[in-house]
Amino acid sequence: MSLENSNDRRDPEGSVGHVTPQKLVIEQPLTLACGIVLPTHTLVYETYGTLNHRRSNAVLICHALSSNHHAAGVYEDDSKPGWWDHYIGPGKAIDTNRFFVVGVNNIGSCFGSTGPTSVNPETGDPWGANFPPLRARDWVESQKLLMESLNIDCWAAVIGGSLGGMQAMRWSLEHPDKLLNAVVIASSMKLTAQNIAFNEIARRAIKSDPDFCDGHYLLEDKVPLRGLALARMIGHVTYLSDELMGQKFGRDLRMGDLIQGKTDPVEFQIESYLNYQGDKFSDFFDANSYILITKMLDYFDLAREYNHDPVAAFSHAMCNFLVISFSSDWRFSPSRSQEITDALIAAGKSVSYIAIDSEHGHDAFLLPNQRYQDALGGYLSRVADQLEGVAP
């Protein structure tokens, strides 16, 4: 039934096996882009593979809107593998035999790291809608504190898809000497008006739910499940391609039929699928986090502070780049990746750009694809060779 979360994700081969999340309380104050200071914050993270003696083989995985630190492997009590298990593991594209891989849940999200569902120490109540607005750079700064606590001086690579790619790009500008490679997948230097429009429709859906209570639903002991489900359904449509939806669901009916003279209720498969995805999502994601992080996406503009000149922005970067796009992605279309690539070339940075043919829309960055795997794996294998002194 479900497209990307079906059993085909459960590939035991090359799995990092059982993993356990770790929790880090960062006592160092974090000044956010909005000016508000988080005196302390908590990050939940996972690591796979082994940090080498020189501590040089660490790779940071940056998650997108709704995922988290659980990027690979399985928990003892849950057979569902991490969200990027296809690409992280021994012998996989992000090879845990060679890299020490760090997955982190970012602040503002809702999987154990400090966010809207955490208690605001000043009030003793959950932050809820009062959680400070965030920018991608705040995630980068928080990740840097995690990096320091792990005693890592430089990432071999910072890798991410979608919003994750935005973090990788921001890393390259904010801390150019702290990463050797940035892998930017299905991403963009800024959202288009259409992207922002879809995000606003999703936020409006959440806020329209009577159980939203202006964002303070936790205090009221309520959850805006219907609004969040609707928000996810809207988002989900933008992650898939028209072509794929047509192939997978077409006009197939889940129940009833359209023969004249019948009054039985009719449901299309796509309706059922979307409702299922929406309901499943609202069971585990927080509505305030969804609003917060979609706004973070809207606000992201890589070159804003560089006079809106992406070439001037990237001239600050020191790392090498790999940019990957997917043909049917209409949320962050290949043109967005091409713009990133063009700016990097004009700035004289090392970059390769791979345009993968895929029917899976934006979600393609999470799904198995041989060319994608080869490109990512080939690039990172050379990075590992360089670290190990095998390649020039």
Binding site: L322, I345, S350, V351, Y353, R382, A391, P392
Partner: protein
């Protein structure tokens, strides 16, 4: 390619920016990087070639030449290379204009259709030539324009393209010996260094 075009390193400034249109597995860029420490980028659309470029650390950009090069700014490269591709493009003259817009200098190579083997093939067999340089049947060939070096020079003259250097290559016998006195008859591959 069987022909060694290593001599083009003398036409390229050390540490300059080089764009190789149709870079294949990246061998040429790698040798230029090693010898001249250039900053090189290759355009390629073949998946296997792209994979080897990535694995070898060559900057490779997946982009189809035939869909234009508008994303590259004027004079954004010191040298634009295009080896054995001109004859396969839909509008070679327009691409020439484009690469002379993007690069201050350009180096192009192409098979010389005036070579005696192709002439003889067509003349005596009455069939479209299938030779080492043009190893396809007429219906499946990627080479859709056939021209001699003399045709190319006429085009350069017409479009005000300066020829900085030219080099005629031939490996076969007697081509190798006779290409100097009779270049259009015995050149297999022509190599041009151009500017506007």
């Amino acid at each position: 390619m069987n022909h060694d075009i290593g001599f083009i390193k003398d036409w390229i400034e050390p540490q300059s920016r080089v764009l190789d249109l149709g870079c294949g597995d990246g061998s040429l860029l790698i040798s230029l990087q090693e010898q001249l420490d250039i900053l090189g980028y290759g355009l390629e659309i073949d998946a296997d070639s792209i994979r080897s470029c990535v694995a070898r650390g060559v900057n490779v950009i997946e982009q189809d030449l035939n869909k234009g090069l508008k994303n590259f700014a004027d004079h954004s490269f010191d040298t634009v290379l295009m080896t054995q591709t001109l004859q396969a493009l839909r509008y070679p003259h327009l691409v020439l204009d484009e690469i002379l817009r993007i690069g201050s200098r350009c180096i192009v190579t192409f098979p010389n259709f005036g070579n005696w083997r192709t002439r003889a093939y067509l003349n005596f067999r009455g069939r479209m030539p299938v030779t080492k340089q043009l190893a396809y049947q007429w219906f499946d060939t990627p080479n859709i324009h056939f021209f001699t070096y003399a045709d190319f020079e006429a085009l350069c003259k017409e479009r005000n393209i300066n020829i900085l250097h030219r080099q005629f290559l031939a490996n076969g016998f007697p081509d190798k010996l006779l290409k100097s006195p009779w270049p259009n008859l015995f050149t297999e591959i022509a190599v041009y260094h151009l500017s506007r």
